[in-house]
């Protein structure tokens, strides 16, 4: 299966006692599945594990750190078009600072989203051109709504 963490996507093949990550093979052993969660032994080292899942999201606590993963469906289109910037939270478009077709540089202010009585600057993650700017100032947007599409 294909699993993503952040911008890292890996091909994961699971066998009963081994896993291959992008072809690299690791032997593992479930040393315990007990009160303090699961203990995975990989190449001699023990790892304390706690896991949880919500839909396509998988949360893993491992030796005191937390990691987030997402299943990548081989079938079907990716969840969002590459280039979309989505609303990180429900809010209101306070101000748009660019227009469709305009060329933008990485870090350039694209619009200001007002949420939780604070204003959040939405900036261009990289150089590109504004292909779509679907909302007007004052529009209410839900979490995950595409705000700007950059080609």
């Amino acid at each position: 299966m294909r699993i993503a963490s952040g911008d890292r996507v890996r091909d994961v093949r699971l066998e009963p006692r081994a896993v291959s990550l992008d072809g690299e093979r690791f032997e593992f052993r479930v040393a315990a599945d007990g009160a303090a969660g699961e203990i995975l032994e990989i190449e001699g080292r023990r790892h304390r594990i706690r896991v949880a899942r919500r839909g396509d999201l998988v949360f893993v606590w491992c030796d005191g750190e937390v990691y987030e993963f997402m299943t990548v469906r081989s079938t079907g289109r990716p969840r969002t078009e590459a280039g979309d910037l989505l609303a990180p939270m429900p809010g209101r478009i306070r101000q748009t600072c660019v227009s469709e077709g305009e060329a933008v540089r990485a870090g350039q202010l694209l619009l200001i989203l007002e949420a939780m009585k604070m204003e959040h600057a939405i900036r261009a993650p990289r150089d590109g051109t504004v292909r779509r700017l679907p909302h007007r100032e004052g529009d209410l947007v839900e979490t995950g709504t595409p705000l700007v599409e950059i080609a």
Binding site: I3, G6, V51, R53, R54, V60, T80
Partner: protein, 493 residues
């Protein structure tokens, strides 16, 4: 005699207040917006009153609804906690107007310390040093431009009714002033409905040090030592400690005196905090006074071995300051870590259900939490989830204990600032005790590339629990976590 107490708040502070109330044999009464009916704080109290449906403004921020709730619950007193209406003189008056005890300072003290401008003036009268700033009367661009010369650059444009850094901007050169003023006024109107602004000299890399103050009705006012609050992110404190590594005994007592003076000047009663800025030349200036319980009050409780909320309630009930408080001396070193539901890099608020939750424990470890497994974390409230407070015999041991406890803290389902906290704890400047308010902004938490074990665990869970298709129906879609694909800012929490 307080027999029952309405806690006009939610989250960790409501739970924390309820714990002390229960220990005092006082019935704690929770309030909640309909969306919060299943919230952790509601389940921690023997009684609870609904504030009905609606936004925070219509519920936790609605004076009429809260007074109605207090009447319905027939409580003797109201504790506002922090945030929400805790610094609203109108609420204080409404509570007293309803014949209930207000667990907080007199409305008059709240008022005098409320507006930045007013409080600065009041402090100047009282002989407490304040950061050089513009004449409050000066509001036109022309007047303020003139004032700017006097104040000197770099300076800050601040909203008179502002707080938490809202509507505040830095100006380095005269030619940028006008634009900054326009922006500040616009934000101030939007956020506080009041466009008044003023200028204040910007202290480069100052220490943010605050003193816990306590007063009683008999007019006694004392301080309970300081808290170092320089570890801030976007003017939001994330780690506090006491004692402050920046103070020596003489400086500490000078600052403490000023803080007590500030509180006396407004006839302070109950718990309050005087925030001071300490510049590189070890000059200190009054910043503001928080006329309520402070988020970080537990570190003071830890080093002094006292319960500040108990004292708040007793003093509201007419008691004097506890015997022996005048002779208290701190023991050990305490650190508080604030766990926020936010992206550790972008600091954007996060939401979701808490799927797994386990708190650290053991010697010198205290957790004040507003969540449990199953909690729904929304973005409509303050993103503070819980606080970890550690006490150690010395600063080094306290830091080691904080690191240990932080790594034992399991929160799955909502992204938190845990990695940022860990980064601060292991940063050279923090460990050395030489850090100022610019520390956190210069830190970049490691991007947390998952080890093989984490990939394996994720894969095993996905295999065990089958395709997410159905499960996904339940939970929110990963759109709640949108930055990833487009920008790669998204790193695992």
């Amino acid at each position: 005699m307080i027999r029952s107490l309405l806690i006009a708040n939610r989250g960790e502070i409501a739970v924390r207040i309820a714990r002390t109330a229960r220990e005092m044999g006082i019935e704690a009464v929770a309030v909640y917006s309909e969306a919060d009916a299943g919230a952790f704080h509601v389940g921690q109290m023997p009684r609870a009153v609904s504030l009905g449906p609606g936004s925070p403004r219509e519920t936790y921020l609605s004076i009429p609804r809260l007074i109605e709730a207090a009447r319905e619950a027939r409580v003797d007193a109201v504790h506002p906690g922090y945030g929400f209406l805790s610094e609203s003189p109108e609420f204080a008056r409404a509570v007293e107007g309803a014949g209930l005890l207000w667990v907080g300072p007199p409305a008059s003290a709240i008022e005098q310390m409320g507006g930045k401008v007013r409080s600065r003036a009041r402090m100047r009268e009282a002989g407490v040093p304040v950061v050089p700033g513009s004449d409050p009367a000066a509001q036109s661009d022309e007047e303020l431009t003139a004032e700017a010369g006097r104040v000197g650059f770099p300076l800050l444009v601040k909203a008179s009714s502002g707080g938490g850094g809202k509507g505040m901007s830095r100006v380095d050169r005269l030619e940028d002033l006008q634009a900054a003023l326009a922006e500040a006024r616009r934000l101030a109107v939007a956020a506080f409905g009041d466009g008044t602004v003023y200028l204040e000299r910007l202290l480069e890399r100052p220490h943010h040090v605050e003193f816990q103050i306590f007063g009683d009705r008999a007019g006694h006012v004392l301080h309970l030592f300081e808290r170092e609050c320089s570890a801030q992110r976007r003017h939001q404190k994330i780690i506090e400690e006491t004692p402050s590594p920046a103070l020596d005994p003489p400086l500490r007592s000078r600052m403490a005196e000023a803080a007590v003076e500030a509180a006396r000047a407004v006839g302070y009663v109950g718990a309050g905090t005087v925030e001071l800025l300490l510049d590189e030349k070890r000059n200190f200036y009054f910043l503001e006074m928080n006329t309520r319980l402070q988020v970080e009050h537990p570190i003071t409780e830890a080093t002094l071995g006292i319960d500040l909320v108990r004292a708040q309630i007793e003093i509201a009930d007419g008691a004097r300051l506890p015997d022996g408080w005048a002779r208290l001396t701190p023991r050990g070193h305490a650190i508080e870590l604030r766990l926020y539901a936010e992206d550790p890099i972008t600091c954007l608020p996060r939401s979701g259900e808490v799927l797994e939750y386990a708190e650290p424990s053991g010697p010198g470890v205290r957790v004040d939490s507003g969540i449990a497994r199953g909690s729904q974390v929304g973005v409509e409230f303050d993103p503070l989830l819980a606080k970890l407070v550690v006490l150690g015999p010395d600063r080094k041991a306290a830091i080691e204990r904080a690191r240990r406890a932080l790594s034992d803290w399991i929160v799955l389902g909502v992204e938190t600032n845990r990695r940022l906290l860990a980064a601060v704890l292991s940063s050279e400047e923090f460990v050395a005790g030489r850090y100022t308010t610019d520390l956190v902004s210069r830190l970049s938490p490691p991007s947390g590339e998952p080890p093989a074990a984490a990939w394996v665990a994720a894969a095993r869970l996905l295999e065990r629990s089958g395709p997410g298709g159905s499960a996904a129906a339940g939970g929110p879609t990963p759109a709640g976590d949108p930055w990833g694909e487009a920008t790669g800012w998204r790193v695992s929490a």
